[in-house]
């Protein structure tokens, strides 16, 4: 909200410069976001003396003047004003000056007017932007010093030409600060000087006004008070310069004297006001009621609204004439033909105003204030104040008395402050006299008892409910800078230990970074189609994704059910920018409706996922070997190593060469039938859809579950390292070429029992020497024990392995 420095200064005699004021307000809770300097530029306008005036030879209405600007020589100016006379001190715009007249910029140049040279311009007040007066040139007092800048003279005369506007970010609690008087109240507390509110005499309910207008409030909870006054015989027209200047300073457009007066008083005291054309109010009465569903109403901005139920409507005897607290109606608007004005000053319920404004998609200066909570006691004051102003500006007269419908006047609420509580919250002792002074100047009327200070909550502070609110008021005015930071703090007894999941995350980051993966952060919100496409990608679970209800764009319609689409977007982006080798990972939350995970919020499952993926060359280029493209066994190897690092080698792996919508082939990892992760090759169709040149392989894990399994693992127990030599044996077995090798390894492990420590495969061969339809698989076996092994023992085990393989897989030992 914009606050004019000059306007504010009418209500409080402070000593701040505009910059100091901005700083003081910021440091006491009204953050000034911007400081704007305003005002007519009087650069190039100087005080001159009219030395002589002669008639213009070629024009009756013009005169030729010689002007002394204190430069030692006289300058000739052609002047058209009737009041110019010798010896006057006048403002002179010199050559090169820019003047703004009626929104047009005029540059003063040396010119010839009807054959006579003119070297400047003697100005009227309107030409300088000082007033609307164009009756003649401005004549300065004898105090004006010849040759001095006009601005200096004006300031000496006490006329403020320039203004500074502070743009304040009002926090939602500070309803009281949405006006100049409200801000001035803080200033008065900060500077310990009194607040000066305009003196207004408020008549009591009754008088002539009540004969012309009747007010019925049918919903007193939503409209607690409705004050009305009538101004008769008003001439609606433009506002005077001072009023325009006030409003334009805070970036309000001047409309006419009546509307401008209501805005002026609203920005003065925070009470929104509305002016109706009294002659368009049927039956001379106002009824305040709630709307019924689908009532139609056209607001004064010309927009037609279909109202929901429960909007507060101001009606006359026949129809609605305004939406209470939000905007007036077209049917009762004040225009040039208006002569009698009905003024409304009311209080509307904050939450209902907010609800209605949102439902109607409207936000006005009035709704902004009512939503926050307008002073419950400013209605009569503001109504009388604006009526007087309209009468002054438009030449009308105010009906005597007032209608002040006030069904349930609020009782003053008292609130006790325990003095001892202040240091318990703030950590400093504030002298009691300072507490009293601050509370007094903010209007809390503090009364001292022994341990407490009893306060009255002012009608303009709907945000104050509790003792803690009073402590905040004291703190912000006393100054947060006075609170000294503790120099040391006690160490807590329970020292927090790093959670296992954080340690695990750290290890996975380190592992993946070491293996050339770069971490990415992708959007949690996806277009709906993309979310649907990938919702069953990896978990194989059939749960629908979670849609948003009010997303600002279609691209953020649905929560990600998988990290995969995000990574594919990133792969596509980088491939488009010429990168072939792609290795990325992400840790992030995914979402499903209902579901299998213990849910924080009922009906939604949410868990963390680890995804890593590769595509393109498997290693950086080298000068002595060629680099293959990544394949399935690269990602599988990365997974196996990771699982080994986390001591999770026991996970079950279930391969499947059956393509899914997303994958060409995949391996499912699980523990006790529970899905833990998937290793897969992306389907060629999706690879092509993302314009990726090389096959994509990825591994994805339910990280939440994986971390839990890690946590549940028993702590490592040392087993002594064997000191005896190991024995290695190689065997090559010829089997059917379709025989999965994984199954053979499993059987070898079983057959090798305790002595077999390790199985590796060092060759898979088909071709010469091997029958068609067969392959030779060469295993390297490592045996060991806590004693020296005898050859016969090993021979026996190897024989057992060979026999098992022969029996299970129809394998033959290769000669």
């Amino acid at each position: 909200m914009k606050i004019s420095y000059n306007w504010l200064s009418e209500y409080v005699a402070h000593e701040y410069s505009p910059e100091d004021l901005a700083h003081a307000l910021t440091m006491s809770g009204l953050e000034v976001e911007e400081i704007l300097h305003l005002g007519p530029s009087l650069d190039g306008v100087f005080v001159g003396r009219v030395v002589s005036v002669r008639p213009h030879p070629n024009a009756d209405r013009l005169t030729l003047c010689d002007i002394d600007l204190g430069t030692g020589e006289l300058i000739p100016i052609v002047c058209g004003a009737p009041n110019v006379a010798t010896d006057q001190r006048v403002p002179v715009a010199t050559i090169g000056t820019h003047l703004t007249i009626d929104d047009k910029v005029l540059k003063i140049k040396k010119s010839k007017i009807r054959g006579q040279t003119s070297m400047g311009m003697i100005c009227a007040e309107d030409e300088l932007g000082l007033s609307d007066d164009h009756s003649g040139i401005m004549v300065l007092s004898g105090n004006a010093v010849i040759g001095e800048p006009l601005l200096d003279y004006m300031e000496r005369e006490g006329k403020k030409l320039n203004d500074t506007v502070l743009d304040i970010a009002i926090t939602p609690n500070r309803a009281d600060a949405t006006s100049h008087i409200g801000v001035a109240r803080d200033v008065s507390a900060l500077q310990n000087v009194p607040l000066k509110r305009p003196e207004i005499t408020i008549p009591s309910d009754g008088g002539e006004t009540t004969q012309h207008i009747k007010v019925d409030i049918e919903c007193p909870d939503l409209c607690r008070r409705y004050a009305a006054v009538i101004v008769t015989g008003v001439k609606v027209g433009p506002s005077p310069a001072w009023l325009k200047q006030r409003l334009e300073a805070i970036e309000l457009r001047s409309i006419n004297n009546v509307v401008d007066a209501t805005n002026y008083v609203m920005y003065e005291c925070g009470q929104p006001l509305h002016a109706f054309d009294y002659d368009r109010i049927a039956e001379q009465r106002i009824v305040v009621r709630e709307s019924v569903k689908d009532e139609e109403f056209t607001t004064l901005d010309g927009k037609k609204h279909l109202l929901p139920e429960g909007v507060v409507l101001i009606c006359d005897g026949e129809r609605p004439v305004a939406i209470g607290g939000i905007m007036g109606g077209e049917n009762s608007e004040v225009d040039e033909t208006t002569s009698n004005v009905l003024i409304e000053g009311a209080w509307f319920c904050p939450s209902r105003t907010r609800k209605s404004a949102r439902a109607l998609g409207m936000s006005t200066d009035a709704s902004y204030r009512f939503e926050r909570g307008v002073d419950t006691d400013s209605q009569a004051w503001a109504t009388v104040r604006v009526a007087a102003l309209i009468a002054e500006l438009g030449g009308g007269s105010v009906t005597s008395g007032i209608v002040d419908a006030h069904p349930g006047p609020p009782k003053a609420t008292r609130l006790d402050l325990r003095v001892a509580r202040v240091p318990k919250i703030l950590g400093i002792r504030i002298p009691r006299k300072d507490i009293l002074r601050i509370l007094t100047s903010l209007g809390f009327d503090p009364q001292e008892a022994c341990d407490t200070i009893s306060c009255t909550i002012p009608s303009y502070r709907p945000d104050i409910h509790l003792e803690i609110d009073l402590i905040e008021e004291i703190a912000r005015i006393y100054g947060f800078h006075q609170i000294k930071a503790q120099q040391s703090a006690p160490l807590p007894v329970s020292v927090p230990v790093t959670r296992p999941i954080d340690l695990l995350r750290e290890r996975v980051h380190a592992y993946l970074n070491g293996h050339g993966f770069r971490e990415i952060y992708t959007n949690s919100l996806l277009p709906d189609e993309q979310a649907l496409q990938f919702s069953q990608a990896v978990t194989a679970a059939d749960y629908p994704p979670v849609r948003t209800l009010n997303a600002v764009s279609r691209s953020m319609a649905t929560l990600r059910p998988s990290l995969l689409p995000g990574m594919l977007n990133v792969m596509q982006h980088n491939a488009n920018h010429g990168r072939r080798a792609l290795r990325f990972y992400e840790l992030g939350h995914v979402f499903h409706l209902s579901g299998h995970e213990a849910a924080f919020i009922e009906n939604y499952s949410e868990y963390e996922v680890l995804l890593f993926g590769i595509s393109g060359p498997v290693r950086p280029q080298s000068w002595d070997s060629s680099i293959p493209l990544a394949d399935f066994f690269d990602i599988k190897g990365d997974v196996e190593k990771l699982l080994s690092l986390l001591n999770l080698d026991f996970l079950q792996m279930e391969p499947s060469v059956v393509p899914t919508d997303i994958t060409a082939h995949h391996i499912t990892l699980s523990v006790n039938e529970k899905w833990i992760g998937t290793i897969a090759r992306l389907s060629d169709e999706i690879q092509a859809a993302y314009d990726l040149p090389d096959p994509v392989f990825f591994a994805t894990f339910n990280w939440t579950r994986l971390a839990l399994i890690c946590e549940e693992q028993p702590a490592a127990v040392y087993s002594p390292v064997p000191r005896y030599p190991v024995v290695e044996r190689d065997i090559a077995m010829v089997v059917d070429s379709q025989q999965p090798v994984g199954d053979m390894i499993k059987k070898i492990r079983e057959a090798g029992r305790k002595l077999l420590k390790n199985v590796d495969i060092f060759d898979i061969y088909t071709g010469k020497g091997i029958a068609p339809g067969k392959k030779s698989v060469a295993f390297s076996l490592r045996f060991g024990a806590n004693r020296t092994l005898r050859d016969q023992e090993i021979d026996h085990v190897v024989q057992n392995i060979v026999t098992t393989l022969s029996a299970q897989f129809d394998a033959e030992l290769r000669a």
Partner: protein
């Protein structure tokens, strides 16, 4: 030719000359030489040995000596050649050290937001804070009500909320959390004071994506609740944090503000030097904080007379952008490798 000693001597002399003149400068030539002179089957010297029994008895001894000497010559020549080759191939001078190293992998990297989060959590860990986390889908109670946001209050407009569908009901109840503050509530509901924790995480705002705003960002929330906690403790923690994060020279200010869940509330600005700025720099807001509102403590069943506490929250992207001079928030989520490789 007839086999006699004289002939043998002539042949040996010829071979001897050939051996002396052989240029064994490559391993291939050496091998050829070995086969020609010393090969078991076809080598000329073994062949000559086989002729010895054909000689008269008295000459056999001389012939043996002659051929042994010849074989020695061939062997010496061969060994010396092999030694030459060996020396040549392991010559430690003959290596181009400027060739690039063989890299088994590219460099990996962590995302700058992870790095910034880690830096922040690290500072608070050193100050004795534990880490807590919570869900990104929240309900109204945890995200707003328990945090003292009244229904239909403009305070709710401070955060544009993204609501999610509720299965089977079609009304808005669940939402993407707008801040990490619900983690405060969850933690306090689950335990007893004292609390001293930070909660890092992803939060959502229903805003269009532009260079300066994204529909989500990351926050770190802090909470301390204990007996005797005051604003002086809050200032201590925040000042300590600012010095650790921005350096000992950091200029900061603490000014009143408003958050529904803290009272009094304050924001921390730090002075950021900007050489092109007319005032040489400007205040940048980096975090919001305050004393935990008694309504929040009461909502989670904590006696607000006995316990007091403070809370604070800060975004990650904004200070990270300040630090690294990033002027477009979208680059964080674009994940261009040329960007990721800079951190």
């Amino acid at each position: 030719m007839e086999t006699n000693l004289e002939n043998l001597k002539t042949v040996a002399a010829t071979f001897s000359e050939e051996i002396a003149g052989a240029k064994l400068d490559t391993p291939a030539k050496s091998e050829e030489f070995r086969i020609r002179f010393l090969g078991q089957r076809r080598g000329v010297i073994p062949k000559l040995f086989k002729t010895i029994p054909d000689l008269p008895k008295q000459d056999r001894r001389s012939a043996g000596q002659l051929l042994n000497a010849l074989r020695k010559e061939a062997q010496t020549a061969l060994e010396s050649a092999i030694e030459q080759h060996r020396v040549k191939t392991t010559n430690t001078w003959d290596i181009d050290l400027t060739l690039p190293g063989r890299r088994s992998q590219w460099a990996g990297s962590r995302h700058p937001i992870t790095l910034a989060l880690a830096k922040i959590t690290d500072i608070f860990k050193h100050m004795g804070f534990a880490i807590a986390e919570g869900p990104e889908i929240e309900d109204d109670w945890h995200n707003f009500t328990a945090l003292n946001f009244p229904a239909d209050h403009p305070a709710r407009d401070m955060q544009d909320t993204l609501f999610v569908e509720e299965p089977g009901k079609g009304r808005a109840g669940a939402m993407m959390r707008t801040h990490t503050s619900p983690v405060q509530i969850r933690t306090m509901m689950a335990g007893e004071p004292p609390f001293r924790l930070i909660a890092p995480g992803r939060v959502f705002r229903n805003e269009a994506i532009t260079y300066k705003s994204y529909c989500l960002f990351h926050q770190v929330e802090g909470l301390v609740v204990d007996e005797g906690v005051t604003m002086a403790d809050l200032k201590h923690t925040l000042a300590g944090f600012a010095r650790a994060f921005f350096g000992d020279e950091v200029k900061m200010r603490f000014r009143p503000s408003f958050f529904p869940f803290t009272e009094p509330s304050g924001e921390v600005d730090i002075w950021w030097d900007l050489p092109d700025h007319p005032e040489g720099g400007r205040w940048m807001e980096i975090l919001g904080s305050g004393m935990v509102h008694p309504n929040v403590l009461e909502a989670v069943g904590i006696d607000s007379e006995r316990y007091t506490g403070y809370a604070f929250g800060m975004g990650i992207e904004r200070p990270a952008m300040l630090r690294y001079g990033i002027d477009d928030i979208r680059v964080f989520y674009e994940n261009d490798v040329r960007f990721l490789a800079q951190f």
